[in-house]
Symmetry: C2
Subunit: 453 residues, 2 copies
């Protein structure tokens, strides 16, 4: 009745290489453009805010990129992460579906974000950087970079989206415990922040605004670089350890997924689990359904436009071709702060446009209901972001119950909800509401997109 089925890999199976999906794309990605000239950006120009090694990864088309030994030596504290068969959830749903989940909440920061934080901190340290600036939504990324900074001896400055800063004081405390500095965004410490505050003194902030603030500071000082927790190719690359491990663990379970499911904000945890499988598919392997799940109140893939746009609100970042709701769009303050981003990773956008990814969206109440159902069966309380993936999994498993099909579902449980308990309290107390999709605001933001390409 209560059998836990766990697939563990020993440390020898911690991947030695990341998987770079650029090597297998049927058509290459569109180039990244300079925010001022709108011409293809050069490595030298990117080096104002990023270390050289990361820029090389951003444009690399090598299929395998070696994981530096010092990065592996930290990752192995919690990696390979466990893969579970969710037998108790299957029983609770009375479904013939086989549900597997890869659990990334085992990292000391509680989510997959640590996978890239450790790598980015390593590369920055190796190139003599003293300080890294960044943004954070839910706080998972900021916590991970704070942890990584502490491991490699780097100063970390985090702009935290104001609505999350207020909702999640424990995340801030987590970052500060590791010695990082955490500032609510928009703030008066940057020109971008002050410009937003002048126009919207009550702004609850957004990832796009926080990115502007962090990038602005990084561009000002030679000893300071910027790190991004999602969206860019190198970040998604660093997350592929998830899927590479999962492939071996699914083999141990003698199973191959019919569908792979992850939630998407910027796209990195979804890419982490799905890209190694999509890569196999593009090289002629099994065809799988890759489901990217986003919040209905910030429906980038399902209602956005595939176009060139800025990564931030103040238009300091390069332009990427991606699904976007418009970089001036500020998503409403729902509880999955990690999914409140106007854009989507260019690689995921490209694959979605090519038909390799199946996006869908859910409202937050149905996601919390799914998360609690999962917790009661499996014992782990998911982060509100991950609840979106859980919702889709339960829906698919229920479809299998109706149809009698025994599909194999693999999903990424990208983080635990220990720092999100206020959201659960609000949900259980009936205080949480579904938030409207701000159709008019998105239309206005999309109308303002630069006319390129």
């Amino acid at each position: 009745m209560n059998e836990t089925v766990k697939y563990l890999l020993d440390e020898q199976h911690l991947p030695r290489f990341w998987y770079n999906i650029n090597a297998d794309l049927p058509q290459p990605l569109d180039q990244i453009l300079h925010p001022g000239t709108q011409q293809p950006i050069t490595a030298d120009e990117l080096e104002v805010i990023f270390p050289r090694a990361v820029i090389e990864q951003e444009v690399s088309t090598e299929r395998e990129i070696e994981i530096p030994q010092p990065v592996r030596e930290v990752l192995r504290q919690w990696r390979p992460s466990p893969l579970y068969r969710a037998r108790r959830l299957e029983k609770a749903l009375n479904t013939p579906a086989k549900i597997f989940y890869k659990y990334e909440g085992v990292s000391p920061a509680g989510s997959h974000k640590a996978n890239t934080a450790i790598a980015q901190a390593f590369y920055n340290k190796a190139e003599g950087v003293k300080r890294i600036t960044t943004e954070t939504g839910a706080g998972q990324w900021g916590s991970s970079l704070a942890l990584a900074g502490s491991m490699f001896g780097l100063e970390i400055l985090v702009y935290m989206v104001k609505v999350s800063f207020n909702q999640k004081p424990y995340r801030r405390a987590f970052m500060e415990t590791f010695g990082a500095q955490c500032i609510a965004s928009p703030s008066d410490t940057t020109a971008s922040g002050r410009a937003i505050l002048a126009e919207h003194p009550d702004s609850s902030g957004s990832l796009g605004i926080a990115i502007s603030e962090a990038v602005e500071l990084a561009a000002q000082r030679d000893d300071t670089k910027y790190a991004l927790g999602s969206v860019l190719n190198h970040v998604l690359l660093h997350q592929t350890v998830i899927g590479l491990e999962a492939q071996k663990q699914m083999e141990m379970a003698d199973a191959y997924p019919d569908m792979v499911i992850g939630c998407t904000g910027g796209g990195s945890n979804f890419a982490g689990i799905a890209f190694p499988y999509i890569g196999e598919q593009m090289r002629g392997g099994h065809t799988i359904q890759s489901i990217a799940v986003e919040p209905s109140a910030c429906p980038t893939l399902t209602k956005g436009r595939f176009a060139y746009d800025f990564g931030d609100t103040a238009h300091l970042t390069p332009l990427c071709k991606m699904y976007t709701l418009g970089s001036t769009f500020v998503p409403p303050g729902f509880h999955a702060g990690g999914l409140r981003y106007h854009g989507m990773a260019p690689q995921i956008s490209h694959l979605a446009a090519l038909g390799y990814i199946d996006p869908r969206s859910y409202n937050q109440l149905e996601c919390f209901a799914a998360g609690i159902q999962f917790a009661k069966a499996e014992g782990i309380i998911p982060a509100p972001e991950a609840n979106h993936a859980v919702r889709a999994v339960i829906d698919e498993a229920e479809k299998c119950r109706e149809s009698g099909e025994s599909k194999t579902i693999l999903f990424n449980l990208s983080g635990h909800g220990h720092f999100d308990m206020q959201a659960y309290t609000d949900y259980l107390g009936g205080k949480l509401k579904d938030l409207d999709y701000a159709e008019n605001e998105v239309a206005m933001a999309l109308a303002g997109l630069p006319a390129i390409g």
Copy 2:
């Protein structure tokens, strides 16, 4: 520089038996007495509040007691838990000491408490119990029992010490997410609670009071039993999986501890890691130093009296021979809520009286400082309770630096601090104070001890 050294056991090495230290004691424990008659209590009398299987374990002198298969099937979700060599901490301290830690924060409830919660829920379910009442201090035990109740389909009612209930709303949310009911203690739902409130309307509560409330309810209904998260023999027994696994993992590391360290409130996490080693010692094996670390504001082992006392404030529980500060003593509201107990496990008390255990106490500020030092080096933020163990470890490692000795230190990192971030915020903000040892109150409580034995 950043090398993580981890010793993992596969599931085949999850222990099949618990280790019962009663089998190896040079003198047997003193008997448990009935609270009314003060005569040795019978199994039938204990059955009013505990299931039969647990009562049998309480008095067993068998060295090995089999772990039921359904319990192992749940435990293996996170067990065997990892053992780490704290190389980064050793480097930071510049010590020749070798520091190892067993990490129990990997359980879904975040601490070692789940080890016994799962076992107790199983035995209650097997005997037809519908509802379990309990108390919780920091919330680790209540969370664990809530989780276990959800796994085995039992109703859980938790009396949470009021000071922790207010300090830690996320712990309450955690329990409620799993469907448990959580009430601040002292409450008006029981006669014991109402009696305390009548005399001390502002009482911040204590584990002793919360136990009275939970026991009172359990004694009233046949379908309801009571579960205790520490102190009693069967609880300590269930925690020995920690030390049994650690013994195998230390062998993998080709090391044997010179000292084993754990924090002590009721004593279960310390017993979990130390008893298998103390048992070896009593059977003629290596002599080790077993250090039990308690808060200076609740110094049971270092300043208490070894005498018969009640487990609770209202004197509803049986009497045990133990180190105690007096069952009417209410410890001040420091942040390690799990260590705010007037008594100490009879087995630990007995071993301390026989000279097998070396107790010491620390104030909370020095413990938080140690916890932050540990977090920055090892990446894991300890629970405030575990910070007491960390403080002793760092002190011992620093002594090794002075003496040049390369001692091997093993400690139990009993839980993470994700639900204790308010305490870290207060500490980092300079708002935390050391709390005085309430010498007069303890003297009064000790003066009120029953004159037995």
